[in-house]
């Protein structure tokens, strides 16, 4: 067992964690911003934009991967521009891992942030306005802190989703060992080779991470001030 652990290529763990962290940071920034923005829109606009932003959550990840490939392929305008002018390669690269994980886990962050914002007493916002506070100040000093527990648990869930992403990642970034080979891709690969021991080991790693994440979540929601309801 020790031999096995020593001989194991740990790069998938590093890649998954790195991807997860960067994607989560991006999701956090854009997800809360999008949620904050949509709260101020009219019902009609809200319904349309909301549906679009949530789409990756309900689409099969491979379908999202398909669109991402279309967008970032080096034979197409966006991909071509990025490569020619900025020397950025998305397809078959680590950046692809991040973008795939970001797109797939974004709705989770957005939805949770939105739900958290909806729980914030509207009178707090009205009060801020009648007190002459700017919308920015109200958002960062009043709404955001009040929504913190919901946003925190949303962030943790987003991270969990991001490190486990498989479908879109395999299509956009591929499975290049040491570069884009994430844990979930490694598990699929070694299973194909019939190596159930290595697969089981990685499953174990994933389970430990998942358990820790859920534990953190529960601690966060348990601490959110309200008395936990016990039946």
């Amino acid at each position: 067992m020790i031999e096995l652990l020593k001989g194991l290529d740990w790069s998938p763990l590093i890649i998954s964690l790195k991807t997860g962290i960067v994607a989560t940071v991006l999701c956090f920034i854009f997800g809360t911003m999008a949620a904050g923005w949509i709260m101020g829109r009219r019902t009609g606009v809200r319904a349309v934009i909301d549906s679009i932003l949530t789409l990756p959550m309900v689409l099969p990840p491979t379908a999202s991967g398909f669109f991402l490939l279309l967008l970032f392929s080096r034979r197409r305008p966006v991909g071509m521009t990025l490569y020619d002018h900025f020397d950025i390669k998305i397809v078959q690269s680590w950046a692809g891992c991040v973008i795939a994980a970001f797109v797939i886990s974004f709705p989770l962050m957005y939805r949770n942030a939105r739900a958290a914002f909806e729980q914030v007493d509207i009178n707090l916002i009205y009060a801020g306005r009648t007190l002459g506070m700017s919308d920015m100040k109200i958002f960062f000093q009043v709404v955001f802190p009040a929504a913190r527990p919901g946003i925190a648990s949303g962030t943790v869930l987003t991270f969990a989703r991001a490190i486990g992403e498989y479908g879109a990642t395999s299509m956009l970034a591929g499975n290049i060992p040491g570069k884009t080979g994430t844990i979930s891709q490694r598990i699929a690969m070694v299973i194909q080779n019939g190596d159930y021991i290595t697969a089981g080991l990685w499953v174990g790693v994933v389970m430990v991470i998942a358990f820790l994440i859920m534990l953190i979540m529960n601690i966060i929601s348990g601490r959110s001030g309200r008395q936990q309801i016990k039946w």
């Binding site: 707090l124 009205y126 009648t130 007190l131």
Partner: protein
Amino acid sequence: MVIQAEFKQKYDNFTLDISLKSRSLRLGILGGSGAGKSMTLKMLAGIMTPQKGFLSMDDRVLLDTGRRINVSPRKRRIGYLFQNYALFPNMTVEENIGAGIPGRGQEKKKTVSELITRFHLTGLEGQIPSELSGGQQQRVALARILACQPEMILLDEPFSALDGHLKDRMQRELLMQLEDYPGPVYMVSHSRDEIYRFSDEIIILDEGKIISQGRKAEVFAKPASIKAAALTGCKNFSRATRISDHSFRADSWGVLVSTSCTLPDRFTHIGYRAHDFIPVWGEDSDKTVPFRLERIDDLPFERNYYIRPAVRGDNEEDLISWFVQRDLCGLLEEKGLPDYLKLDEEKILYFDE
């Protein structure tokens, strides 16, 4: 300061149509739930925008939908005290009070600390709102509003969530704290006691419309309509037929009334407050209702008698209410229940509906 406001807002099941002009410094808006009180206040503050409307304070136009003027709430300089105070839960007392003051310099610090002293919040600077009592929260909310030096303050049912004893105390406190505030203060409430205690001028709202406006004594003494009278606490109404300049019949009660003063030219209904009946033992005279007791409600400080009128019906609302203060109940126990209830002609309200 003259406040002039006109708000029109249509929903499927509710229409607000308000036009008001007032110079009063303490204006109370009385109305039942769903009358549009809170909406009116929110439109004054700019939190809600009516489909059509106008609002000005003296020469300052804050809203004119015709000219596409709509000053944002943060520039209106109108303070708003919310029912639950809407203190920012994550901020300390100090931060809450300072929230609306721009900048962070010495000036701001000074204003905040002055308000903390003035509102007896010394020692609580670092507490967050959930650690404060209701009274302290109210003081913080008021201090936070005054920190912005508003030109007008709106109070949105500030006491409706409190129980009786606390309500009285908080109300007295609020009145005291606002005593030297020079601008207009408008309060909405469904409680006539609160409104009466607070206001110089009263507006009565019903189903989105102003049904009565005037000095408080007038509005309570001479309500303009049955609805307005009911909102001021009048319990008894009867259809009425005018017979001559000095007599009429209260049809719903089957009572003939002759008066020494001249009756209004036209009226269709009369109203009579439950506290104003005079008990009569012995002989029948005019202006009297036979005392046919239906039911007694015993309350802590008064006793409510419900009397079935001679004429009509089994409906609960046809019963005549007579409210007797506790100290008079002794007399009633001694002499027994009266034979008649007499109307005092000075206290009869006349309505032309």
